[in-house]
């Protein structure tokens, strides 16, 4: 799993979440970069209070561009922190709202384990209203094209968990051979045929994290990504960097 190498990669914050200690900003200072257009729309500024303040022009001086990117990076980290806050809010009321079924009890154990022993580069918490519905975050592993990316996903469990795998979907658009670009679905054998009830939330997220850098182009969910991955790695990396940038905005 990806955990080994990146063990000390993330800065461990007080509440046990790992944040990337470094966020890629290269690419952005040279050449023509297509900035995500959503930044300018009303929708984006509603989610991100500071987004509307920066109008971005490619001919703007480098210092100005750098400032804008730094503030975007801060936003990305801020959104990661808000997930952590979600964890915390849940922690307060969790015990009280647990409806006792084996699946829910197991999910509470998964959550406790995640808090006590958080794997590097991932974070997840159940929603306050329903323990079967989780939100997770995967940080792009360091030294990979996905470095700096903050990818959010949803995990939906059934009462048959852990005898049935959760349904996992990316909320953030990720350009990757094994993720469906449209609905964010994940094509991973572990979540289908090779599921085992000994897996838990941490195992699911770490496998998806290692799939990020180690795609399986033979069972593609995104044919274009698979083709570029095999035939035109430069263009593939470019598209990935684009989705890493956009991941800061979702």
């Amino acid at each position: 799993m990806a955990g080994g190498r990146s063990k000390n990669a993330g800065r461990r914050l007080r509440m046990g979440i790992h944040l990337p200690s470094k966020v890629v900003v290269h690419l952005m200072f040279h050449g023509h970069v297509q900035f995500p257009s959503v930044l300018q729309t009303g929708a984006a500024s509603r989610h991100l209070p500071h987004a509307g303040k920066h109008s971005l022009r490619c001919d703007a001086p480098a210092a100005q561009r750098r400032r804008i990117f730094q503030s975007r990076r801060d936003l990305a980290l801020e959104s990661a922190r808000s997930v952590r806050n979600g964890v915390f809010r849940f922690g307060a009321g969790a015990e009280a709202v647990v409806m006792s079924t084996p699946a829910r009890r197991r999910l509470i154990r998964d959550f406790k384990k995640l808090q006590q022993d958080p794997p590097a580069g991932i974070s997840a918490a159940p929603s306050e209203a329903d323990v079967l519905k989780w939100t997770g975050v995967i940080f792009g592993p360091e030294d990979s094209v996905f470095e700096g990316g903050v990818f959010k996903l949803t995990l939906t469990f059934s009462e048959e968990y852990p005898n049935k795998p959760p349904v996992v979907k990316f909320i953030t658009k990720v350009f990757h051979p094994n993720f469906y670009y449209g609905d964010g679905g994940v094509c991973l054998d572990l979540l289908q045929n090779s599921w085992s009830p000994i897996y838990d939330v941490a195992a699911v997220l770490t496998s998806i994290q290692s799939l990020l850098c180690d795609p399986n182009p033979n069972s593609p969910a995104n044919a274009e990504a698979a083709r570029l991955y095999l035939e035109d790695r430069r263009e593939y990396n470019k598209r990935v960097l684009q989705c890493v940038e956009e991941s800061w905005l979702t």
Binding site: R106, K113, N163, P165, S196, P197, I198
Partner: protein
């Protein structure tokens, strides 16, 4: 001197003999119950496979009855056979 015991109270301790402390399926200790039961002991026993992997009986039965299992041991994926003894 003679003494007469009028009443005695016996206490016995027991523990399951498994390789692991926790059931891999429900993540609860073997010495307690699976997460669907309330009384430990005979009511919620431990099951050993031919592959020597152990789970709560209730947990492994529930897994084997799900179609995802295809009768595999959750740990080693060999076909699950209850250990005969």
């Amino acid at each position: 001197m003679r003494c007469r015991i009028t009443r005695a109270r016996l206490v016995a301790a027991w523990t399951w003999n498994a390789n692991d402390d926790l059931c891999g399926i429900c993540r609860l200790p073997f010495d307690g119950t699976c997460n669907a039961c309330k009384t430990p002991g005979d009511d919620c026993p431990l099951a050993l496979g031919e592959c020597r992997h152990a789970f709560h009986l209730h947990c492994i039965l529930k897994w084997l009855s799900s179609e995802t299992s295809r009768n595999h041991c959750p740990l080693c994926r060999q076909e699950w056979q209850f250990q005969q003894r």
